[in-house]
């Protein structure tokens, strides 16, 4: 890797491009050549820095981390002279500290430990030399020259690395089974079908540090004795696919992938397979069916993929984050890795923090941290002045946990016992304005839609759960609904074929367990305590506060509001469609939701 004293990241977000980002890059190059600085200052493209509408085109200059905004090619000569020759920050263009730089991944906050995300934003993912400079492929070299496959498996077993895709099965054990399985042809698969809405940890790893995943896969291939690998990436991630493709090409040209890797007799090659938009393909047996060219439907296990996987051959399948951990475990040792975390869950976990929390985006924390620390210390607490209500972990098949469980340490077992799951790492924080029945309905809508339809409990059961929840939200809930939800959830959980069906009732079961009062209010009192479910709320104009300004009446789309100027207005409840526009436009807070 050439040594540059400065690196300039230029945002090439579509809006920045429209505003002249590429002209900016060209003129930066021209000016750097003119000043003889081309060997000292590197210019790189990056997907997005700040808000492009307001700040674009914008650049960040490292190592200082100065964020220059609204900069065009006119400003370049001055910028180069001031910043790179005289070493002075051009205050006029420098963004205020409050402007976010990377909206998805900020600098590490207190309590974070970056293992999987350590290189992201720091290296050029499209240049293998940058990865070399971060000890890249050293672990592969060590494995191929100093360790037997059994040693590698033992190291991963000792590290107690567990699958980061959600189920948390010990990776070393999986590798051991695949190694012991009979057959000459074996496969390695990387599950990059990150489908949980709101979860994008794996996308950032593939886009920002693709070689760490590749290296992890090569090491796993050596350990189990595979010669061919596949990365199954969802088609919704075109940038991840192209970055990964380039990484494979570069690794192949360097002899790190292909025949006789690093001069040894180890051969391993891999290719990318793209999904075609099916959530269930994240399930391992469905994923393999999809690679084989069929409908992505899961099948019953056993036999497990380690014995009978892709095309019936022994196959090891782990997700992106699991493989990305591997090179560092080999280099730094299992003791280092297992020094982080709890007794049964070692290392770190990435999460995508979303919802009503101040700092959204990617984080990486050691196992054993509490939910409260994640939400209030790393996440900065709840947006606005609102109160925390629930946190949903584990994606659409996870559960919602209340305030009383916030001090639980985060690991696979504890979350499971509390009625949720670790999942792949989505974490949605909800404030007091969220209706938990509506949330259960929302997630059920998703799983019902994504059910592949192969087994009856999932196909029919989730549909039936959704119907009951819709009925309750519409104010038509009745005696017996709660019992039916419980009974159905139990049946779906026990009898479904794969994780999708088995996990589908979690949002319902967990909200029933922790927020039963809200279900009862909907069903027996016909009331939505969070004032979300339209059928159960009413808009009313408050006598003392209404000034008779007529704004609400003029904005009502159905003409339900009447009243003379300077007189208190009235909403005709028979006409009102509860769209909430009057509530939004009233400047005197005179419209109440009851």
């Amino acid at each position: 890797m050439a040594f540059y004293r400065s690196t300039v990241l230029v945002s090439v977000d579509p809006i920045c491009v429209e505003k002249g980002a590429y002209e900016l890059i060209d003129s930066l190059h021209d000016e750097l050549i003119k000043q003889g600085l081309l060997d000292e200052v590197q210019v790189l493209e990056t997907p997005r820095l700040g808000d492009p509408e307001k700040l674009g085109p914008d650049i960040v200059v490292y190592p200082e981390g100065t964020h220059y905004t609204n900069i065009t090619y006119f400003d370049v000569p001055r910028l180069v002279e001031e910043h790179f020759i005289k070493g002075r920050i051009l205050k006029q263009y420098a963004a205020k500290m409050t402007d976010t730089i990377d909206e998805e991944l900020s600098a590490p906050r207190s309590k974070e430990i970056r293992v999987v995300l350590r290189n992201i934003g720091e290296i050029d993912p499209r240049n293998i030399d940058d990865y070399f400079a971060k000890d890249g492929y050293m672990a592969l070299g060590k494995v191929l020259t100093e360790m037997s496959p059994e040693d590698v498996i033992q190291e991963i077993l000792d590290a107690k690395l567990r699958g980061r895709g959600g189920a948390g099965f010990p990776a070393g054990l999986k590798w051991k089974f695949a190694r012991q399985a009979e057959g000459n042809v074996k496969y390695i698969i990387c599950n990059a079908d990150e489908g949980d809405p709101g979860a994008f940890m794996n996308r950032r790893v593939l886009e920002g540090d693709p070689h760490s995943v590749l290296e992890g896969m090569c090491i796993a291939a050596y350990a189990i004795g595979a010669q061919q690998g596949y990365v199954y990436c969802r088609a919704e991630y075109p940038i991840a696919v192209s970055t990964m493709n380039l990484a494979i090409k570069q690794a192949r040209s360097m002899g790190l992938v292909g025949k006789n890797i690093l001069g040894t007799n180890f051969n391993f090659d891999l290719e990318i397979r793209m999904g075609a938009g099916a959530f269930v393909c994240g399930e391992e047996t469905a994923l393999m069916a999809s690679i084989e060219g069929g409908r992505g439907e899961p099948r019953a296990r056993p036999p497990f993929p380690a014995n009978k996987g892709l095309w019936g051959k022994p196959t090891n399948i782990n997700n992106v984050e699991t493989y990305a951990n591997v090179p560092q475990i080999i280099l730094k040792g299992s003791e280092w890795f297992s020094s982080m975390g709890t007794e049964k869950s070692k290392g770190t976990k990435t999460f995508a923090l979303a919802g009503d929390v101040k700092n959204t985006g990617l984080i990486e924390v050691p196992f054993g941290i509490t939910l409260r620390e994640i939400i209030f210390d790393v996440g900065g607490g709840i947006k606005g002045d609102k109160k925390f209500k629930a946190v949903q972990t584990g994606g659409p098949m996870g559960g919602c946990l209340p305030e009383s469980l916030l001090d639980l340490p985060v690991d696979y077992e504890t979350l499971g016992q509390a009625g949720s799951i670790m999942g792949s790492g989505g974490m949605i924080v909800m404030d007091e304005g969220t209706c938990m029945v509506d949330i259960a309905r929302f997630f059920m809508e998703f799983t019902q839609d994504e059910s592949c339809g192969k087994c009856v409990p999932c196909r029919v059961g989730t549909h039936r759960l959704l119907e009951i929840l819709e009925k309750i939200c519409a104010g038509e809930g009745e005696e017996g609904d709660i019992e039916e939800l419980e009974e159905l959830s139990d049946q779906i959980r026990k009898n479904s074929l794969c994780g999708l069906g088995q996990g589908a009732p979690n949002p319902v079961v967990s909200t029933l367990k922790h927020f039963m009062d809200e279900y009862k209010a909907h069903i027996y009192e016909k009331r939505c305590p969070a004032k979300v479910c339209r059928a159960l709320i009413k808009y009313e104009i408050l006598d003392g506060l209404c000034t008779g300004c007529t704004v609400c009446a003029r904005n009502c789309p159905v003409g339900a509001i009447t009243g003379e100027r300077k007189q208190t207005h009235v909403i005709d409840q028979d006409i009102c469609i509860k769209c909430g526009i009057c509530h939004q436009v009233c400047q005197f807070d005179a419209i109440d939701i009851i």
Binding site: E103, E104, A276, G277, E292, G293, G296, C452
Partner: protein, 159 residues
């Protein structure tokens, strides 16, 4: 290519060319179907019959795969495909209002194609760019932080 000008001969030649480029083994089926969808907008009955010959698979088998995946289409699509993300993270940051504005501007419900074959409106699964939601995709152009007011202007960029 708009469906109303889909020429049977061109369709067959296109399918043959795609199979030649990608391959004709069973594992090539999904990439082939994706390429056909990209090139012709959808997988026609003609295309399926031709594929059946080339790949030595029953048509019903091809149909069962083509109808399983969201990104493969067996229905004609418009010249431009608008995909709106309806997942939770976009939903909670104003996606609902943007989607309403989009449906109104196009006068379409999800899954429908406009009578002039210009637009098809679909919903998409999470695109993983939740930091800039609400998000929509027109063909391969991604738009983030969309507001209801911007919808008409964005649509007007397409011929």
């Amino acid at each position: 290519m708009p469906s109303d000008t889909l020429n049977k001969e061109e369709n067959i030649l296109g399918v043959q060319e795609i199979v030649k480029r990608i391959g004709s083994t069973r594992a090539d089926l999904i990439p082939v179907l994706q390429a056909i969808t990209n090139q012709f907008g959808f997988i026609s009955q003609t295309a399926m019959e031709e594929l059946s010959q080339l790949m030595n698979l029953p048509t019903k088998e091809i149909n069962s795969v083509a109808t399983f995946y969201r990104m493969l289409s067996t229905q004609p699509r418009g010249r431009h495909v608008v995909q709106f993300c309806e997942s939770a993270p976009c939903h909670v940051v104003g996606g609902r209002e943007v989607f309403a504005a989009l449906k109104q501007a196009l006068a379409l419900e999800p899954g429908q194609t406009s009578p002039d074959n210009k637009w098809t409106l679909l919903t998409t699964s999470c695109l993983g760019v939740c930091g800039i939601g609400p998000v929509m995709l027109i063909d391969t152009d991604m738009y983030g932080n969309v507001t209801p007011e911007q919808v008409k202007e964005i649509l007007s960029r397409y011929e």
